[in-house]
């Protein structure tokens, strides 16, 4: 025993000389906990019914729609971002705006691909711009905010189509103009409420202007939409 005490003091020297006597108990319990399906029930969504999965995502998307319609400075939109809502809105808008190929000889309406590309490419460029100017928002959070704030413009598009079903004269044009202007300013205001906090204060206008231009162009595409007779 004295032998063990003396030779265990220098840490790595003479380790091979140590012999473990039977007085030092070496025992324990090595066993894997068996209940593995109980341990990760927080993270595994593989076993739930499909209805639950879809409803959970739809509920998240719907909640964010409500946040956009009543914009206040909450961080819920930024915290759990998702791109389902922007995709849904973008596809709806592009489908409603596109010109059919069976139309007459000079259909200058934007094609589905053009609207899609403008919305996504525009969002990416605005996000890059705000990051280059020193913004603290992350890439996908910004894409999420810009995409969700297209919601008022999509609503305006639906309203415009309904108005155009009735008449297409001067009165309908004025109604459409008012609706599109209101929704475009709502979109700009909503996205500014979410995005402006992440910018240094002397560059806020530099970041807000491209957002304004983006929604203005989309609003213009909605306003000049003319139905094919």
């Amino acid at each position: 025993m004295a032998e063990v005490e003396e030779s265990s003091k220098p840490l790595f020297a003479g380790l091979s000389d140590i012999s473990i006597s039977e007085d030092i108990p070496v025992e324990g319990d090595i066993s894997v906990p068996v209940g593995s399906q109980n341990a990760d029930n927080d993270f595994s969504t593989l076993d739930e019914p499909v209805k639950d999965t879809i409803l959970r995502d739809l509920r998240a998307v719907g909640q964010k729609f409500v946040h956009v319609m009543y914009p206040k400075k909450s961080s819920a939109l930024l915290r759990d971002w998702d791109l389902w809502g922007p995709l849904l809105l973008c596809v709806t808008l592009a489908l409603m705006l596109q010109g059919g190929s069976v139309d007459s000889e000079e259909d200058g309406r934007p094609q589905f691909a053009e609207v899609f590309v403008i919305i996504w490419f525009g969002s990416v460029i605005i996000t890059l711009n705000s990051k280059l100017l020193g913004g603290t928002i992350s890439f996908f959070q910004s894409l999420c905010v810009l995409g969700y704030c297209i919601l008022p413009l999509t609503v305006a598009m639906i309203v415009c189509r309904i108005v155009l079903l009735g008449s297409s004269g001067l009165v309908s044009f004025i109604v459409r103009l008012i609706v599109v202007t209101a929704s475009f300013s709502w979109s700009t205001f909503a996205s500014t409420a979410f995005l402006a906090d992440s910018q240094p204060p002397n560059r806020k206008a530099l970041v807000v202007y491209p957002v304004f231009l983006f929604y203005f162009v989309i609003g213009w595409m909605i306003l000049t939409f003319s139905p094919s007779h």
């Binding site: 711009n129 002397n202 560059r203 530099l206 595409m221």
Partner: protein
């Protein structure tokens, strides 16, 4: 403790002399021994002057060529402007005062890409949208005309504007650098400064294109002349000091090419996007001399616009 203070004070005087004699020089590579800590102290204490503040903010913000071109910080250094700076540069491009070089006075070694890029994008959309409006207003009296938004024009406008705003400065910069290597007293500009000047000089075309929707013939051409004079003079005043020391032929030829390309852009915009319509309404640029004879309502209604 007296001698380190003396050293610090002398360092700064030398630097101030150098700066005042050549304000355009970059002060990025200071490698004198014993000056590692002292510029930091001196900078904080004595940077009240605007020029010094700008130089020190450059030094504080890091060298211009931070990292390689594959890092994000490299591109972030080109967006190092504030709202007031951008507005100031736009004002300088709209009101060119003689003797004020745009690059020296406004850009001051801090060229940015924000201005040129977003001015080009705005110009693309303003030309396309105003052209649409103009076509609509011109054809308002025509019962057979069904308004269709010409969305494909946006792509054409985009290609034209971006080619002009990036390829022409590239060519000009290459030419000036070549001349600079041949004759050494010419002072050239960096590529980014050239792009910056061209980008900001395009700003005047944005309100011009909006005003082009007024379908009165002489107003349109008057606007073209005014816009060309203003932005052309910005370009001329910027590049004249660079070519002034060259042979007279080269100098005047360079100026003439710059002005001619700028004029070509303006007139091209007018003729393509704001053309008075022919009977088919299809896209033939330069058809403004052909009167729309097949539409009697148009010919009767607007004789002066179809010249």
């Amino acid at each position: 403790m007296a001698s380190p203070d003396d050293l610090k004070f002398q360092e700064f005087e030398e630097a101030a002399d150098l700066l005042s004699s050549n304000p355009g020089a970059s002060t990025l590579s200071i490698s004198s021994p014993g000056a590692a800590a002292s510029p930091g102290d001196v900078r904080v204490d004595l940077s009240d002057d605007e020029d010094n503040q700008q130089e020190s903010s450059e030094l504080l913000g890091g060298e211009k060529q931070t990292g390689g071109f594959w890092t994000f910080e490299y591109y972030q250094s080109f967006f190092n402007v504030d709202t007031t700076q951008v507005l100031d540069r736009i004002k300088g491009s709209v009101m060119p005062l003689p003797g004020r070089n745009f690059v020296k006075h406004h850009i001051r070694n801090n060229p940015d890409l924000y201005g040129p890029f977003w001015i080009c994008v705005t110009l693309v959309f303003s030309v396309a949208i105003s052209g649409d409006l103009y076509t609509f207003l011109i054809n308002k009296g025509d019962p057979e005309f069904h308004y269709r938004p010409q969305f494909n024009k946006v792509s054409i406008a985009a290609v034209t504007v971006f080619l002009y705003a990036w390829l022409v400065p590239l060519g000009l910069w290459g030419f000036l650098t070549w001349r600079q290597s041949v004759e050494r007293q010419i002072s050239g500009y960096t590529f980014l400064e050239t792009v910056c000047v061209y980008g900001y000089s395009l700003f005047i075309y944005i309100p011009t294109s909006i005003l082009w929707t007024i379908p009165v013939y002489w107003i349109e051409w008057l606007l073209i002349v005014i816009a060309m004079v203003i932005s052309g003079s910005v370009l001329v005043m910027t590049f004249w000091p660079a070519v002034r020391d060259d042979t007279r032929l080269t100098a005047f030829a360079t100026m003439a090419v710059i002005v001619a390309l700028h004029a070509l852009l303006a007139v091209g915009f007018k003729l393509y996007f704001f053309k008075t319509p022919t009977h088919t309404g299809s896209s033939h640029p330069g058809q403004h001399t052909t009167p729309a004879a097949n539409h009697t309502t148009l010919a009767v209604g607007k004789p002066s616009a179809t010249n």
